[in-house]
Amino acid sequence: MSTIQESEREEIREALVRFLRAEAGEERLREGMQRDRGYDGAVWRQLADMGLLGITISEAYGGIGGSALDAAMVAAELGRSLLPVPFIETCVIAPALIEASDVAEKMREVLSSIAQGTATIAIGGNATLAPYRDATCTLKVDDSDRISGEVSLVMHGAHADYLLLAIDSESQTRCFMVSADTEYAIEEQTANDPALRPATIRLNCARGIELTGLKPDDLERVRLQGVATLSALQTGAMRAMFEITVDYLKTRYQFGRPIGSFQALKHIAADLFLEVESATSAAHAAANALASADSLAARSVALAGFICNDAFRDVSAQAIQLHGGIAYTREHVAHLYWRRARATLSMLGDSDSHREAYLNTWEAAA
């Protein structure tokens, strides 16, 4: 359970909303996208000042010990703002993995740097908890625990302070923290959602600190936390895009009437509203199940996984259609949501695989 009460969470959320409205509006967002990291590093540090980067890190390691519900709340607001920061990797997956390992004490400083906003983590690999795990990955660990090979689609890979490499080999998953001081080659990749700054990383007998002592259950729980947080991020983003669209329907006039008075557009909006609310419910249930260690958490997370993937995809796609020509231009914000939606579709498992996992949990039911 979270150390944060629901009312506290709401207060934190309101502060975050105010901050993002002031510091991460569309203009600042676009300006940040031109920077090396794809976002303004000052915003990241300010998020740290608000205590949000250590939200899931134990108090003992410099965080505030929040639960999946708290991570979801932050992710939803970040999603709404479209800020392309590495929150899920740095503040959810990495700390959860480190804390679950038996080298947490040894990594105390890394955890506290994360919370202070002075370290970001990029994650690559073919283990189920790694973003874009189905992308090219030839990473191998040799007998001396040195890592060689290549992994692509590592988000923000060029500017991270640590790489977290999660490598499936034979029947075992091994996770390593590789410092940016280590020698490895980085090649940034051209992306359809360029703010995410994916990179190919090539290592040759590189050394890292292994996160030992991780059991399969730990790895799975961390994966679920990643998916649940991404789902929350998607709900925030889709709701923002939906609200912008409904507002446009009310203010855009054609044929002497607001286009939102046309029944066909109303009905599309009503159907999208059902999608947005369903995704919100599913994402909340997933975070709640993890926060309360529900035995059916895997089902709730799988559900959120595909419901939110698909809803974000559909809402952002229809948002362009409902806007018409104006959203066919890069100056309009719609395509940014649409690109983010496409980027998240296979970020932590595609919808088909989440559906399969979801059905598996039902088959296992009595």
Binding site: V246, L249, K250, R257, P258, G260, S261, F262, Q263, L265, K266, H267, A269, A270, D271, F273, L274, E277, S278, T280, S281, A282, H284, A285, L296, L303, F306, I307, D352, R355, E356, Y358, L359, W362, E363, A365, A366
Partner: protein, 407 residues
């Protein structure tokens, strides 16, 4: 004044109700202690006299002035003893409408009657007033101290059993459509009322058509004022929606969300559970049901905590895709067998029934299209369309079969 104290603790209230029940009700044989068999009117009379039929209503109107939480305590106590008869302030649409919208005289005369015996049916829809319910053409014409009714109603359930119908009839053809309607408590058991069951595509006949020819209703059975029936009707509908909303929680609690769903069993039985295409469709169907349950939970929370009804409106629309979607999958699972029907082929019969019955949700009580309008306009705040029948005399409204006066 009564033995049930509104200031008592929930537990004290429970004890008082149980104690009253134990002196009046034989919970084992499910009958009043004073009666050899269960007689509905007799029992209801006893419950009514104790104030327990409509506990939320004030004591001057047959109730106890209890809060909604206290009513739940009472309902639970009745349930503990398997006793019927309480909660009519939540379920008896006729009585609720009369209580909310009727004159004091009507309430005094009819509430004791309605709360103890008669079943009420709803005489709302007409062949030409479906989605457009306010477009009714059944006419009520004054004749001394009564009104003479002529017209046709449709989609009425319980018509044959009903003693009274909640009747919407047009009393002013020169007013705009919402402003010429009067609401009546209409006696069903009289000459001039013909009831014909509707043969539904499911094979059921739960609904009826009602043909009304020169039937009468006393003026004092008017609910609310002349030509203000639409407002009274809205009161009734609001209660109906609340009851449906409460139905949602009931269903949620009862739905065994953690046991294996029937559709999955059918997939296994038809040896298609390993078909990857079917698996994706199954997962999506189960998901639609689960997110609807989750939405309903959030809807209840939001209604309780913020008074917001916006999520409430989604469930009916969502049920359409759930029901039509599940029936479509079941049909495909059965394959050729879906052609069959009847008691010898229960999977096929159930599937075909479900496929037809799904239209009950997507058409009945407002089509999916009307429901989307409501969501878009009432929840999202999108602007209304032009309404050609707004503000003009109803007799001038186009009906496709000539002007209103012929209706």
């Amino acid at each position: 004044m009564t033995q049930f104290d509104t200031d008592a603790s929930p537990e004290a209230l429970r004890v008082a109700v149980l104690s009253w029940l134990d002196t009046h009700w034989d919970s084992e044989n499910r009958r009043p202690l004073t009666q050899p068999i269960y007689d509905r009117r007799h029992w209801r009379q006893q419950v009514l006299e104790a104030g327990l039929a409509v506990p939320s209503w004030p004591s001057e109107w047959f109730g106890l002035g209890m809060t909604s939480a206290q009513c739940k305590v009472i309902e639970k106590a009745f349930a503990e003893r398997n006793a019927p008869g309480t909660g009519l302030d939540r379920y008896h649409l006729g009585a609720i409408t009369v209580f909310k919208a009727g004159s004091d005289a009507l309430k005094r005369e009819m509430l004791p009657e309605l709360l103890t015996g008669p079943i009420c049916c709803l005489l709302y829809s007409e062949p030409n007033a479906g989605s457009d319910l306010a477009g009714i053409r059944t006419r009520a014409e004054r004749d001394g101290e009564q009104y003479v009714i002529n017209g046709q109603k449709v989609w009425t359930s319980n018509a044959r059993e009903a003693d009274y119908g909640m009747l919407l009839a047009r009393t002013d053809w020169d007013a705009p459509k919402h402003r010429g309607i009067t609401f009546f408590l209409f006696p069903m058991k009289q000459p001039g009322v013909e009831i014909r069951p509707i043969n539904q595509i499911t094979g059921e006949s739960e609904f009826n058509e009602i043909f009304i020819e020169n039937a009468v209703v006393p003026e004092r059975f008017m609910i609310g004022n002349l030509n203000e029936g639409w407002g009274s009707f809205q009161t009734a509908i609001a209660y109906e929606r609340l009851i449906m909303g409460q139905g949602i929680t009931g269903r949620r609690r009862n739905s065994a969300t953690r046991s294996r769903p029937p559709l999955l069993e059918l997939a296994e039985k038809t040896h298609k559970l390993n078909d990857p295409v079917i698996r994706q469709r199954l997962a999506q169907a189960l998901a639609y049901r689960e997110v609807n349950n989750l939405n309903n939970e959030r809807a209840m929370t939001e209604m309780m905590t913020k008074g917001s009804m916006s999520l409430m409106s989604l469930s009916k629309l969502a049920m359409s895709r759930i029901q039509h979607g599940e029936a479509a999958i079941a049909t495909d699972l059965l394959g050729p067998e879906a052609l069959l029907d009847g008691p010898d082929n229960s999977d096929a019969a159930n599937t075909n029934f479900d496929a037809a019955k799904a239209y009950m949700n997507s058409i009945g009580g407002g089509t999916d299209q009307i429901q989307r309008n409501i969501i878009a306009e009432k929840v999202l705040g999108l602007p209304k369309e032009h309404e050609p029948d707004k503000g003009i005399a109803f007799r001038e409204v186009k009906s496709g079969t000539g002007p209103g006066t012929t209706g």
